[in-house]
Symmetry: C2
Subunit: 175 residues, 2 copies
């Protein structure tokens, strides 16, 4: 009998170009790489833990055009954002289901770097997969990189999967 | 039919405490982690590429007590060192053979960081596994870390496997 499945946490986020429910190019790449190169045909040997961190500021920005007149409006906005995040996770969970690999998916709010490291401590995956835009040092000054922070601070092994050049949009900060 | 096996490069080195043919604690850990958490029972799905970089200075130091009187003495020393490296690789290749996972193992001489990154470019593995002593920032000042360099510079995804606290020798710089 095989031992417990290897628990792989994959951090996923939404596209900066298309928004919800579309996944970012780099997180989709990280997910697909994990299935193709690690899980392969051994679907019972792995369990994917899909974490989506909703960034508060970005949500606020998306709703710059909204008018809030009552407490209910805020509740509705929160529910709308939650629904968007759920759509994103649905994409990944459906893929896992098609292939037959076990998974769990959940949403947290906050700063992705802190939340990912916190969830690693809580959930204790065998390792963490994060996508990366593969930016150069000059581009990084302006956008920060979640993957580099996780490599340094997450309390589990971390593997960073970079987008390939041909997958990158015109503005490399987009994803 | 399954696609080509996933090619995993694992960098291995000798123990600072016991020397050849003993593997370092961290490289043995990285190797065993790869088998347990990634390869699992799917032995036909993976191929391990075992690279051992012989550090020139260390070899010289080992031979501080030797006397070189003829060109033959140097040739013999080189052959002895090569034999030591082969013994180290034999340990890992035997393990792969027992389990039934395909492997290739080879030795290169030079600076581990540069050689590993060079071999990644040449061999193009799907990812690289490196062990790490898991040193703190103060300890790192004195010993340097191959894993951090590889994470930054190797042209493939890199996963760093740290020794656990209970595996660490009294002097954490030892391995």
């Amino acid at each position: 009998m095989e031992s417990e499945p290897t628990r792989v946490m994959v951090a996923v986020n939404e596209s900066t170009l298309k928004g919800y429910p579309h996944a970012s190019i780099s997180s989709k790449k990280a997910f697909e790489w994990t299935l193709k190169k690690i899980v392969r045909s051994n679907t019972s040997g792995f369990k994917l833990l899909l974490l989506h961190v909703q960034v508060q500021d970005e949500d606020g920005f998306d709703d710059m055009d909204s008018i809030y007149a009552s407490p209910d409006d805020f509740r509705q906005m929160r529910e709308r954002n939650k629904a968007k995040g759920l759509h994103l996770l649905e994409f990944f969970v459906n893929k896992c289901h098609e292939i037959g690999v076990g998974c769990e998916a959940w949403i947290r709010k906050g700063d992705p770097t802190e939340v990912i490291c916190h969830e690693v401590r809580r959930v204790r995956p065998d390792f963490l997969v994060v996508g990366s835009r593969g930016l150069g040092p000059f581009q990084k000054v302006f956008v920060g990189t979640v993957s580099e922070f996780c490599v340094k601070h997450a309390e589990c092994p971390v593997i960073t999967i970079k987008r390939s050049a041909e997958e990158s949009p015109q503005d490399p900060a987009d994803d």
